[in-house]
Protein backbone atom coordinates (compact mmCIF):
# COMPACT_ATOMS: atom_id res chain seq x y z
CA UNK A 1 0.00 0.00 0.00
CA UNK A 2 1.31 3.45 -0.93
CA UNK A 3 1.43 5.14 2.45
CA UNK A 4 2.17 8.50 3.95
CA UNK A 5 5.60 9.22 2.68
CA UNK A 6 5.47 7.08 -0.40
CA UNK A 7 5.54 7.96 -4.01
CA UNK A 8 5.36 5.89 -7.15
CA UNK A 9 8.36 6.17 -9.43
CA UNK A 10 8.01 4.25 -12.64
CA UNK A 11 6.89 0.90 -11.27
CA UNK A 12 8.68 1.25 -7.93
CA UNK A 13 7.16 2.64 -4.80
CA UNK A 14 9.45 4.98 -2.92
CA UNK A 15 8.67 5.48 0.74
CA UNK A 16 9.64 7.43 3.83
CA UNK A 17 12.21 10.13 3.65
CA UNK A 18 13.21 8.94 0.22
CA UNK A 19 9.67 9.46 -1.00
CA UNK A 20 9.60 12.95 0.39
CA UNK A 21 12.99 13.82 -1.03
CA UNK A 22 12.00 12.48 -4.43
CA UNK A 23 8.84 14.57 -4.32
CA UNK A 24 10.77 17.64 -3.27
CA UNK A 25 13.28 17.04 -6.05
CA UNK A 26 10.53 16.65 -8.63
CA UNK A 27 9.00 19.88 -7.37
CA UNK A 28 12.27 21.79 -7.39
CA UNK A 29 13.07 20.52 -10.89
CA UNK A 30 9.75 21.50 -12.43
CA UNK A 31 9.70 24.32 -15.00
CA UNK A 32 7.44 26.28 -12.63
CA UNK A 33 9.86 26.45 -9.74
CA UNK A 34 12.85 26.91 -12.03
CA UNK A 35 11.16 29.90 -13.64
CA UNK A 36 10.64 31.43 -10.23
CA UNK A 37 14.25 30.76 -9.29
CA UNK A 38 15.40 32.37 -12.54
CA UNK A 39 13.40 35.46 -11.68
CA UNK A 40 14.83 35.70 -8.17
CA UNK A 41 18.35 35.16 -9.45
CA UNK A 42 17.97 37.80 -12.18
CA UNK A 43 16.69 40.33 -9.66
CA UNK A 44 19.33 39.59 -7.05
CA UNK A 45 21.99 39.79 -9.77
CA UNK A 46 20.52 43.19 -10.68
CA UNK A 47 19.76 42.24 -14.26
CA UNK A 48 17.55 44.81 -15.95
CA UNK A 49 15.07 42.08 -16.85
CA UNK A 50 11.58 43.33 -16.00
CA UNK A 51 8.05 42.34 -16.82
CA UNK A 52 5.71 45.08 -17.97
CA UNK A 53 3.18 45.77 -15.21
CA UNK A 54 0.28 45.39 -17.65
CA UNK A 55 1.48 41.94 -18.70
CA UNK A 56 1.80 40.81 -15.10
CA UNK A 57 -1.72 42.02 -14.32
CA UNK A 58 -3.13 40.43 -17.46
CA UNK A 59 -1.48 37.11 -16.61
CA UNK A 60 -2.92 37.24 -13.13
CA UNK A 61 -6.42 37.84 -14.53
CA UNK A 62 -5.94 34.90 -16.86
CA UNK A 63 -4.79 32.62 -14.05
CA UNK A 64 -7.59 33.59 -11.69
CA UNK A 65 -10.21 33.14 -14.39
CA UNK A 66 -8.82 29.78 -15.47
CA UNK A 67 -8.50 28.38 -11.97
CA UNK A 68 -11.94 29.65 -10.98
CA UNK A 69 -13.59 28.20 -14.05
CA UNK A 70 -11.93 24.82 -13.70
CA UNK A 71 -13.07 24.65 -10.09
CA UNK A 72 -16.63 25.48 -11.06
CA UNK A 73 -16.68 22.92 -13.85
CA UNK A 74 -15.37 20.27 -11.51
CA UNK A 75 -18.15 21.04 -9.03
CA UNK A 76 -20.68 20.95 -11.88
CA UNK A 77 -19.42 17.52 -12.81
CA UNK A 78 -19.29 15.99 -9.37
CA UNK A 79 -22.36 17.66 -7.94
CA UNK A 80 -22.50 19.98 -4.99
CA UNK A 81 -21.53 18.27 -1.83
CA UNK A 82 -22.38 19.15 1.74
CA UNK A 83 -18.61 19.31 2.30
CA UNK A 84 -18.54 22.44 0.13
CA UNK A 85 -20.38 24.32 2.88
CA UNK A 86 -18.30 22.97 5.73
CA UNK A 87 -15.06 23.53 3.85
CA UNK A 88 -15.93 27.16 3.14
CA UNK A 89 -16.87 27.63 6.77
CA UNK A 90 -13.58 26.12 7.85
CA UNK A 91 -11.76 28.43 5.43
CA UNK A 92 -13.46 31.49 6.88
CA UNK A 93 -12.68 30.44 10.44
CA UNK A 94 -9.04 29.76 9.59
CA UNK A 95 -8.69 33.04 7.74
CA UNK A 96 -10.15 34.96 10.67
CA UNK A 97 -8.23 33.05 13.34
CA UNK A 98 -4.76 32.78 11.80
CA UNK A 99 -4.08 36.55 12.08
CA UNK A 100 -4.65 36.34 15.84
CA UNK A 101 -2.06 33.59 16.09
CA UNK A 102 0.32 35.43 13.79
CA UNK A 103 -0.11 38.65 15.77
CA UNK A 104 0.71 36.87 18.97
CA UNK A 105 3.77 35.19 17.44
CA UNK A 106 4.99 38.48 16.02
CA UNK A 107 4.67 40.00 19.46
CA UNK A 108 6.93 37.28 20.83
CA UNK A 109 9.42 36.90 17.99
CA UNK A 110 9.83 40.49 16.73
CA UNK A 111 9.80 44.09 17.84
CA UNK A 112 7.15 45.25 15.39
CA UNK A 113 4.71 47.80 16.76
CA UNK A 114 1.05 46.73 16.98
CA UNK A 115 0.07 48.34 13.69
CA UNK A 116 2.77 46.69 11.62
CA UNK A 117 2.29 43.41 13.43
CA UNK A 118 -1.43 43.41 12.69
CA UNK A 119 -0.83 44.34 9.05
CA UNK A 120 1.62 41.46 8.66
CA UNK A 121 -0.77 39.14 10.47
CA UNK A 122 -3.55 39.96 7.99
CA UNK A 123 -1.43 38.62 5.16
CA UNK A 124 -0.98 35.23 6.80
CA UNK A 125 -4.67 34.70 7.40
CA UNK A 126 -5.46 35.44 3.80
CA UNK A 127 -4.16 33.38 0.88
CA UNK A 128 -1.94 33.37 -2.17
CA UNK A 129 -3.70 31.97 -5.20
CA UNK A 130 -0.46 31.20 -7.02
CA UNK A 131 0.71 29.04 -4.14
CA UNK A 132 -2.65 27.32 -4.38
CA UNK A 133 -2.21 26.74 -8.11
CA UNK A 134 1.32 25.46 -7.61
CA UNK A 135 -0.10 23.13 -4.97
CA UNK A 136 -2.62 21.79 -7.49
CA UNK A 137 0.18 21.06 -9.87
CA UNK A 138 2.24 19.28 -7.20
CA UNK A 139 -0.88 17.25 -6.47
CA UNK A 140 -1.19 16.28 -10.10
CA UNK A 141 2.44 15.20 -10.32
CA UNK A 142 1.77 12.99 -7.33
CA UNK A 143 -1.20 11.46 -9.10
CA UNK A 144 -3.76 12.87 -6.68
CA UNK A 145 -6.73 15.16 -7.20
CA UNK A 146 -8.79 17.50 -5.06
CA UNK A 147 -12.35 18.77 -4.86
CA UNK A 148 -13.21 21.55 -7.32
CA UNK A 149 -14.82 23.54 -4.55
CA UNK A 150 -11.45 24.23 -2.97
CA UNK A 151 -11.31 27.21 -5.34
CA UNK A 152 -14.36 28.62 -3.63
CA UNK A 153 -12.70 28.03 -0.28
CA UNK A 154 -9.68 29.97 -1.55
CA UNK A 155 -11.92 32.90 -2.50
CA UNK A 156 -13.70 32.76 0.85
CA UNK A 157 -10.41 32.97 2.71
CA UNK A 158 -9.21 36.19 1.06
CA UNK A 159 -11.12 38.70 3.15
CA UNK A 160 -11.85 37.53 6.72
CA UNK A 161 -8.20 37.92 7.70
CA UNK A 162 -8.38 41.61 6.82
CA UNK A 163 -11.31 42.13 9.15
CA UNK A 164 -9.51 40.33 11.97
CA UNK A 165 -6.45 42.47 11.53
CA UNK A 166 -8.46 45.69 11.40
CA UNK A 167 -10.18 44.66 14.62
CA UNK A 168 -6.77 44.07 16.22
CA UNK A 169 -5.59 47.51 15.21
CA UNK A 170 -8.80 49.34 16.07
CA UNK A 171 -8.45 48.25 19.68
CA UNK A 172 -5.48 50.60 20.04
CA UNK A 173 -5.88 53.07 17.15
CA UNK A 174 -9.28 54.75 16.92
CA UNK A 175 -8.36 56.13 13.48
CA UNK A 176 -8.75 52.71 11.95
CA UNK A 177 -12.44 52.16 11.43
CA UNK A 178 -14.53 50.06 9.13
CA UNK A 179 -16.69 52.16 6.86
CA UNK A 180 -19.02 50.80 4.21
CA UNK A 181 -16.71 51.83 1.37
CA UNK A 182 -13.84 49.94 2.90
CA UNK A 183 -16.07 46.97 3.57
CA UNK A 184 -17.19 46.83 -0.06
CA UNK A 185 -13.66 47.31 -1.33
CA UNK A 186 -12.50 44.35 0.69
CA UNK A 187 -15.36 42.05 -0.25
CA UNK A 188 -15.47 43.05 -3.93
CA UNK A 189 -11.76 42.99 -4.41
CA UNK A 190 -10.88 42.17 -8.01
CA UNK A 191 -9.36 38.78 -7.33
CA UNK A 192 -12.31 37.62 -5.22
CA UNK A 193 -14.79 38.75 -7.88
CA UNK A 194 -12.82 37.07 -10.63
CA UNK A 195 -12.38 33.79 -8.78
CA UNK A 196 -16.00 33.57 -7.68
CA UNK A 197 -17.31 34.86 -11.01
CA UNK A 198 -15.31 32.37 -13.05
CA UNK A 199 -16.26 29.64 -10.58
CA UNK A 200 -19.94 30.37 -11.15
CA UNK A 201 -19.40 30.51 -14.92
CA UNK A 202 -17.70 27.14 -14.71
CA UNK A 203 -20.62 25.72 -12.72
CA UNK A 204 -23.08 27.00 -15.33
CA UNK A 205 -21.28 25.95 -18.49
CA UNK A 206 -19.95 22.64 -17.18
CA UNK A 207 -17.54 20.36 -18.99
CA UNK A 208 -19.06 21.10 -22.41
CA UNK A 209 -18.56 24.82 -21.98
CA UNK A 210 -15.03 24.29 -20.73
CA UNK A 211 -14.26 22.17 -23.78
CA UNK A 212 -14.99 25.21 -25.97
CA UNK A 213 -12.32 27.30 -24.28
CA UNK A 214 -10.05 24.48 -23.24
CA UNK A 215 -7.18 25.41 -25.55
CA UNK A 216 -7.03 28.85 -23.99
CA UNK A 217 -7.74 28.24 -20.32
CA UNK A 218 -6.54 24.68 -19.78
CA UNK A 219 -3.75 23.42 -22.01
CA UNK A 220 -1.52 26.55 -22.05
CA UNK A 221 -2.14 27.14 -18.34
CA UNK A 222 1.06 25.68 -17.00
CA UNK A 223 3.26 27.52 -19.48
CA UNK A 224 1.57 30.81 -18.68
CA UNK A 225 2.12 30.04 -15.03
CA UNK A 226 5.85 29.69 -15.74
CA UNK A 227 6.03 33.26 -17.03
CA UNK A 228 3.93 34.47 -14.13
CA UNK A 229 6.28 32.80 -11.66
CA UNK A 230 9.23 34.29 -13.48
CA UNK A 231 7.68 37.68 -12.83
CA UNK A 232 6.90 36.83 -9.21
CA UNK A 233 10.52 35.84 -8.83
CA UNK A 234 11.67 39.15 -10.27
CA UNK A 235 9.40 41.11 -7.97
CA UNK A 236 10.28 39.02 -4.92
CA UNK A 237 13.99 39.27 -5.65
CA UNK A 238 13.81 43.02 -6.14
CA UNK A 239 11.84 43.35 -2.93
CA UNK A 240 14.44 41.33 -1.03
CA UNK A 241 17.26 43.39 -2.42
CA UNK A 242 15.58 46.68 -1.53
CA UNK A 243 14.36 45.69 1.90
CA UNK A 244 17.28 43.62 3.15
CA UNK A 245 17.69 45.81 6.21
CA UNK A 246 14.02 45.45 7.10
CA UNK A 247 14.35 41.70 7.50
CA UNK A 248 15.49 41.18 11.07
CA UNK A 249 16.25 37.60 12.11
CA UNK A 250 13.03 37.58 14.10
CA UNK A 251 10.95 38.53 11.09
CA UNK A 252 12.72 36.02 8.92
CA UNK A 253 12.07 33.28 11.45
CA UNK A 254 8.43 34.27 11.62
CA UNK A 255 8.15 34.16 7.81
CA UNK A 256 9.47 30.60 7.80
CA UNK A 257 7.68 29.34 10.91
CA UNK A 258 4.22 30.73 10.34
CA UNK A 259 3.47 28.80 7.12
CA UNK A 260 3.99 25.30 8.59
CA UNK A 261 2.05 26.38 11.67
CA UNK A 262 -0.81 27.54 9.46
CA UNK A 263 -0.61 24.31 7.50
CA UNK A 264 -0.94 22.33 10.72
CA UNK A 265 -4.03 24.25 11.79
CA UNK A 266 -5.41 23.73 8.29
CA UNK A 267 -4.70 20.03 8.63
CA UNK A 268 -6.46 19.76 11.98
CA UNK A 269 -9.52 21.56 10.60
CA UNK A 270 -9.50 19.55 7.41
CA UNK A 271 -9.34 16.28 9.32
CA UNK A 272 -12.21 17.36 11.55
CA UNK A 273 -14.48 17.95 8.57
CA UNK A 274 -13.23 14.84 6.84
CA UNK A 275 -11.49 16.20 3.77
CA UNK A 276 -9.83 13.58 1.55
CA UNK A 277 -6.05 13.75 1.02
CA UNK A 278 -6.00 16.09 -2.00
CA UNK A 279 -8.36 18.65 -0.54
CA UNK A 280 -6.77 18.34 2.85
CA UNK A 281 -3.45 19.22 1.26
CA UNK A 282 -4.92 22.26 -0.50
CA UNK A 283 -6.53 23.42 2.74
CA UNK A 284 -3.11 23.24 4.36
CA UNK A 285 -1.60 25.16 1.46
CA UNK A 286 -4.23 27.89 1.76
CA UNK A 287 -3.68 28.20 5.47
CA UNK A 288 0.09 28.23 4.97
CA UNK A 289 0.15 30.81 2.21
CA UNK A 290 0.24 34.58 2.62
CA UNK A 291 -1.54 37.18 0.49
CA UNK A 292 0.39 39.60 -1.71
CA UNK A 293 -2.39 41.26 -3.71
CA UNK A 294 -5.68 41.73 -1.89
CA UNK A 295 -4.36 42.32 1.62
CA UNK A 296 -1.57 44.77 0.73
CA UNK A 297 -4.07 46.89 -1.22
CA UNK A 298 -6.48 46.89 1.72
CA UNK A 299 -3.69 47.74 4.18
CA UNK A 300 -2.59 50.60 1.97
CA UNK A 301 -6.06 52.11 2.24
CA UNK A 302 -7.01 51.26 5.81
CA UNK A 303 -3.67 51.22 7.63
CA UNK A 304 -1.36 53.55 5.72
CA UNK A 305 0.86 53.77 8.79
CA UNK A 306 2.00 50.18 8.28
CA UNK A 307 5.14 49.78 6.21
CA UNK A 308 4.64 47.89 2.92
CA UNK A 309 8.37 47.24 2.92
CA UNK A 310 7.79 44.89 5.86
CA UNK A 311 4.64 43.06 4.92
CA UNK A 312 5.34 42.71 1.19
CA UNK A 313 8.90 41.55 1.72
CA UNK A 314 7.81 39.00 4.26
CA UNK A 315 4.92 37.67 2.24
CA UNK A 316 6.47 37.75 -1.23
CA UNK A 317 10.16 37.50 -0.44
CA UNK A 318 10.18 34.94 2.36
CA UNK A 319 6.97 32.97 2.73
CA UNK A 320 6.07 32.63 -0.94
CA UNK A 321 9.43 31.15 -1.98
CA UNK A 322 9.49 28.92 1.08
CA UNK A 323 6.05 27.50 0.35
CA UNK A 324 6.76 27.11 -3.33
CA UNK A 325 9.98 25.20 -2.93
CA UNK A 326 10.01 23.34 0.39
CA UNK A 327 6.59 23.96 1.85
CA UNK A 328 4.52 22.19 -0.78
CA UNK A 329 6.30 18.82 -0.62
CA UNK A 330 6.35 18.98 3.19
CA UNK A 331 2.62 19.71 3.39
CA UNK A 332 1.87 16.93 0.91
CA UNK A 333 3.92 14.45 2.86
CA UNK A 334 2.07 15.51 6.02
CA UNK A 335 -1.33 15.38 4.33
CA UNK A 336 -0.63 11.88 3.14
CA UNK A 337 0.69 10.84 6.49
CA UNK A 338 -2.26 11.98 8.55
CA UNK A 339 -4.98 11.07 6.09
CA UNK A 340 -3.39 7.78 5.16
CA UNK A 341 -3.89 8.70 1.47
Amino acid sequence: MAGALCRIEGKKEVCGLDGFLALAATNLGSPLILSFVLGVAAALGRSDLVFPEAAAKALSIYLLFAIGMKGGVSVAEHGVDIRLGTAILLGIVLSAALPLLAFRLLGIMTRLDRTNAAAVAAHYGSISIVTFVAGTSVLESAGLSADGFMVAVAAAMEAPAILSALWLISRSDPNVRMDSTLWREIMLNGSIVLLIGAFVIGMIVGADGLAEVDSFFVSPFKGALCLFLLDMGLVAGRGLRRSRDVLTPGLLAFGLLMPPLGACLGAVGGLLIGLPTGSLFLMMVLAASASYIAVPAAMRVAVPEADPGIYLTLSLGVTFPFNLTLGLPIYLALARGISGG
Partner: protein, 103 residues
Protein backbone atom coordinates in the same frame (compact mmCIF):
# COMPACT_ATOMS: atom_id res chain seq x y z
CA UNK B 1 -2.25 85.54 -26.13
CA UNK B 2 -4.44 86.42 -23.20
CA UNK B 3 -3.78 84.31 -20.17
CA UNK B 4 -5.23 84.16 -16.68
CA UNK B 5 -3.81 83.35 -13.28
CA UNK B 6 -4.58 79.91 -11.91
CA UNK B 7 -3.20 77.37 -9.47
CA UNK B 8 -1.99 73.89 -10.26
CA UNK B 9 -2.40 71.47 -7.38
CA UNK B 10 -0.66 68.11 -7.67
CA UNK B 11 -1.49 65.33 -5.26
CA UNK B 12 0.73 62.23 -5.26
CA UNK B 13 -1.00 59.39 -3.45
CA UNK B 14 -1.28 55.57 -3.23
CA UNK B 15 -3.18 54.13 -6.19
CA UNK B 16 -5.75 52.31 -4.03
CA UNK B 17 -6.77 55.72 -2.67
CA UNK B 18 -7.75 57.08 -6.10
CA UNK B 19 -11.40 56.31 -5.68
CA UNK B 20 -11.66 58.06 -2.35
CA UNK B 21 -9.76 61.10 -3.49
CA UNK B 22 -11.99 61.39 -6.53
CA UNK B 23 -15.09 61.14 -4.38
CA UNK B 24 -13.89 63.88 -2.05
CA UNK B 25 -12.93 66.15 -4.95
CA UNK B 26 -16.35 65.64 -6.51
CA UNK B 27 -18.02 66.51 -3.23
CA UNK B 28 -15.92 69.66 -2.96
CA UNK B 29 -17.11 70.65 -6.42
CA UNK B 30 -13.72 70.15 -8.06
CA UNK B 31 -14.70 68.58 -11.35
CA UNK B 32 -11.61 69.29 -13.38
CA UNK B 33 -8.58 67.08 -12.81
CA UNK B 34 -6.31 64.69 -14.66
CA UNK B 35 -4.63 61.56 -13.32
CA UNK B 36 -1.10 60.45 -14.17
CA UNK B 37 0.50 57.16 -13.25
CA UNK B 38 3.65 57.15 -11.12
CA UNK B 39 5.80 54.20 -12.14
CA UNK B 40 8.33 54.32 -9.36
CA UNK B 41 9.83 56.44 -6.69
CA UNK B 42 11.47 56.68 -3.35
CA UNK B 43 10.44 57.98 0.02
CA UNK B 44 10.86 57.39 3.71
CA UNK B 45 9.58 53.86 3.21
CA UNK B 46 12.22 53.08 0.62
CA UNK B 47 12.43 52.82 -3.14
CA UNK B 48 9.89 51.06 -5.33
CA UNK B 49 8.99 50.45 -8.93
CA UNK B 50 5.75 49.38 -10.57
CA UNK B 51 7.36 46.99 -13.03
CA UNK B 52 6.02 43.49 -12.84
CA UNK B 53 3.67 44.34 -9.96
CA UNK B 54 0.53 42.27 -9.91
CA UNK B 55 -1.43 44.12 -7.27
CA UNK B 56 -2.23 47.81 -7.17
CA UNK B 57 -0.97 48.20 -3.61
CA UNK B 58 2.50 49.23 -4.65
CA UNK B 59 1.44 51.83 -7.19
CA UNK B 60 0.94 55.55 -6.88
CA UNK B 61 -0.84 58.17 -8.94
CA UNK B 62 -0.66 61.90 -9.41
CA UNK B 63 -3.88 63.88 -9.50
CA UNK B 64 -3.45 67.28 -11.13
CA UNK B 65 -6.08 69.99 -10.76
CA UNK B 66 -5.95 73.37 -12.42
CA UNK B 67 -8.23 75.70 -10.51
CA UNK B 68 -9.06 79.36 -10.05
CA UNK B 69 -7.02 80.84 -7.18
CA UNK B 70 -10.13 81.63 -5.15
CA UNK B 71 -11.11 77.97 -5.09
CA UNK B 72 -7.74 76.78 -3.85
CA UNK B 73 -8.59 76.58 -0.18
CA UNK B 74 -11.67 74.49 -0.71
CA UNK B 75 -9.68 72.07 -2.77
CA UNK B 76 -6.83 71.82 -0.29
CA UNK B 77 -9.16 71.17 2.60
CA UNK B 78 -10.98 68.48 0.68
CA UNK B 79 -7.75 66.86 -0.41
CA UNK B 80 -6.25 67.07 3.05
CA UNK B 81 -9.08 65.03 4.54
CA UNK B 82 -8.06 62.11 2.34
CA UNK B 83 -4.36 62.72 2.32
CA UNK B 84 -3.97 63.23 6.03
CA UNK B 85 -3.09 59.74 7.12
CA UNK B 86 -1.64 58.82 3.74
CA UNK B 87 1.48 59.43 1.73
CA UNK B 88 -0.06 62.36 -0.08
CA UNK B 89 2.60 64.74 -1.32
CA UNK B 90 0.63 67.90 -2.16
CA UNK B 91 2.22 70.73 -4.16
CA UNK B 92 0.73 74.02 -5.29
CA UNK B 93 2.21 75.95 -8.22
CA UNK B 94 1.27 79.26 -9.79
CA UNK B 95 0.43 79.07 -13.43
CA UNK B 96 -1.26 80.91 -16.25
CA UNK B 97 -3.98 79.35 -18.32
CA UNK B 98 -5.57 80.00 -21.66
CA UNK B 99 -9.36 80.16 -21.68
CA UNK B 100 -10.06 80.91 -18.02
CA UNK B 101 -13.79 80.32 -18.50
CA UNK B 102 -13.05 76.61 -18.25
CA UNK B 103 -11.97 76.73 -14.62
Amino acid sequence: METHKAKQVTITIEAPMERRLRAVLDEAGVTGYSVLKVIGGSGRSGAWSAEGQVGSAGGMIQVICIIRPDRLDGLLEAAFSVVERHIGVVTITDCDVLRAERF
